[in-house]
């Protein structure tokens, strides 16, 4: 059969003109969608394969912690702030308790500070390992998940051994830390310290984590599909990131070597030797790679802290019922997700007058309308995943 060339041309032109007449569609993504890490909803205007005017809708997880904090005492609030970023619950406690200690002008014993530091870095490792597990999964590579979650379990077991909790340790007290072992009034005279063998086991776990990170890296860094989906995708320039308040690994991936562990004094990080990894291009790949390098630095910090941990008490002398003197302070910390800060206003009572919680993920995902403008729909998943947010940390 001979094709009628005129008819073919006519049909192809017709189909082209039909394609040009497409209408924009409003697409709801979430709030119950696996790639949204919880209950985040995106409303996007979709034109063909590209998304425009993406508006995140948040608030499905809002628990009103800032209001609740006004009717709770300081020890009660540490249980609340555990639940802000539950992937690294321990790290949320530290800046809050340091803020209260600042107003009380309490000197925390060195050993307690070292324990806080070791556990904070372990929280960072476990949070980054969750990212190492979930991000390749979202890009269609499920294998790294098994390596990452196995190591995370190792770290969480150690955290649980000290604090009694995997996700919500509630471990810091004003003036120090309170290990689970031997607590309670009847056993108060019994040793309350790190569990037996903790330091040796942590050292061992850190070696294993280092090996696992190399394994994950070899699984991902050579995978052409992952590289194609992340390199050059979702580029975030440093000045845009700063003006939106994007912090932590997301900011460092854009080439800004700014780490609050280097400039703030909430924990004695100045005693340890570590580097601040930075990215070059600010794309999804850099955000992945910076977190991978940060795990290695956290391992370095923990190893040095284990070597240098001093002996001494775990708790400063504090009154039984703690009333924090009048004052206002802002203490911020380098949490796994970025800058986590507490603006604490005390009026001399047992609870704060006002507690403003500055959480990292909230500012980190406020960049979404900017960074998702005009991207391909599959790239939405790649970009959102690379920002590594937790909805509890967004909504508070």
């Amino acid at each position: 059969m001979v094709l009628d060339q005129d008819l073919v041309r006519h049909l192809s032109e017709t189909s082209v003109s039909v394609e040009l007449e497409t209408e924009d569609m409003t697409l709801n993504i979430g709030p119950q969608h696996p790639s949204t890490h919880g209950v985040l909803r995106l409303v996007a205007r979709v034109d063909g394969e590209r998304a425009f005017d993406v508006q995140p809708v948040i608030g499905y997880m809002h628990r009103g912690y800032e209001k609740l904090a006004e009717v709770r005492s300081y020890p009660q609030i540490t249980t609340l702030v555990n639940r802000i970023d539950w992937v690294s619950g321990y790290a949320n406690e530290v800046p809050f308790i340091v803020a209260a200690e600042k107003l009380l002008e309490i000197e925390v014993p060195e050993r307690a500070q070292y324990i806080r530091l070791i556990l904070t870095e372990m929280a960072r490792i476990s949070s980054h390992l969750v990212f190492m597990a979930s991000y390749p999964l979202e890009l269609g590579a499920p294998t790294p998940l098994f390596f990452a979650l196995r190591e995370r379990e190792r770290v969480l077991d150690l955290l649980e051994g000290v604090t009694g909790g995997r996700f919500h340790p509630n471990f810091n007290r004003i003036g120090g830390v309170k290990p689970a072992y031997g607590s309670g009034s009847s056993t108060r005279k019994v040793i309350q310290d790190l569990p037996a063998g903790f330091l040796a086991e942590t050292r061992d776990a850190m070696d294993k984590v280092t090996v696992a990170v190399d394994e994950i890296n070899s699984l991902v860094a050579g995978n052409e599909i992952i590289l194609a989906r992340t390199k050059g995708v979702g580029v975030l320039p440093p000045e845009v990131a700063a003006s939106y308040g994007v912090s932590g690994p997301n900011l460092r991936a854009s080439g800004v070597g700014f780490d609050l562990r280097k400039v703030e004094d909430y924990l004695p990080y100045h005693l340890f030797d570590f580097e601040v990894p930075v990215g070059e291009n600010g794309d999804c790949w850099d955000r992945w790679h910076v977190r991978l390098l940060e795990i290695r630095q956290s391992v370095r910090i923990i190893q040095q802290a284990i070597d240098g941990i001093p002996s001494g008490p775990l708790q400063a002398k504090v009154p039984k019922v703690i009333k924090v003197p009048k004052g206002e302070t802002y203490v911020r910390a380098e949490n796994p997700k970025g800058e986590m800060g507490y603006y604490l206003v005390s009026n001399g009572a047992q609870g704060p007058y006002r507690l403003k919680i500055r959480s990292a993920s909230f500012s980190n995902i406020s960049i979404l309308p900017w960074i998702l403008e005009g991207v391909l729909i599959p790239d939405i998943i790649a970009i959102m995943g690379s920002l590594d947010f937790v909805l509890g940390d967004v909504d508070r």
């Binding site: 002008e105 330091l199 308040g245 775990l314 009026n347």
Partner: protein, 202 residues
């Protein structure tokens, strides 16, 4: 780690020079307390102060924007004390990306009509923070592109973080009973001290 008050009184705080420089550049008054620099400006200087901070002082990182409701009478929690000036204190924290210097700019807004120009054009990250302050405190940000509720449902009445807003669960059932803080178990000594021993097996 913490600075004692005697230190701050007798010697100059290491941040004093920086605080004075910021206050001079934006035309406000600086206060340092507990290693936190606060610079108070007049409401009409709000936008220009943050613009100056960003463009001339290198404070390019937008940390947060929020408010404190200073109120003599409170529905929840403890009142702030006797000599309180009734107002909304608006806070905006910015910082640099080098030495880690940070400033919290504050301004006072009247209780009955808290209105202030939006700083979304200076720091786009303020967009969500201003929406939060709008729904939680009822502060009006003039020039904000979309001052809709961020967390709360559209039909929500009231501004929950105002001190005049009751905590409804407490209205229904006072918690936890008569006293706000339960006594700690064990002993009635005045102070508590942690263990002096450490675990030699750790």
């Amino acid at each position: 780690m913490t600075s004692s008050p005697s230190e701050t009184e007798t010697t100059v705080h290491p941040l004093q020079e920086f605080a004075d420089a910021v206050a001079g550049a934006v035309g406000g008054e600086a206060k340092i307390a507990f290693d936190t620099v606060k610079v108070r400006v007049a409401p009409e200087q709000w936008v220009s102060a943050l613009t100056t901070a960003r463009d001339e002082l290198g404070l390019v990182f937008f940390s947060f924007l929020s408010a404190v409701d200073w109120s003599a009478e409170v529905e929840v929690g403890d009142p702030p004390g006797d000599e309180v000036e009734e107002r909304f204190e608006l806070l905006a924290a910015v910082g640099d990306l080098g030495a880690g210097r940070r400033v919290i700019f504050t301004t006072d807004l009247a209780k009955d009509s808290p209105v202030i120009p939006s700083v979304v054009d200076v720091f786009p990250g303020a967009n969500w923070h201003e929406r939060e302050a709008h729904e939680m405190f009822g502060i009006e940000f003039v020039g904000h592109p979309n001052l809709a509720n961020l967390y709360l449902p559209d039909s929500f009445m009231g501004n929950p973080l105002r001190k005049s807003y009751p905590l409804l669960s407490r209205e229904v059932k006072p918690w936890p009973g008569n006293v706000d803080v339960e006594p700690m178990p064990g002993g009635d000594e005045e102070t508590t001290e942690g263990p002096s021993e450490e675990n030699p097996e750790a």
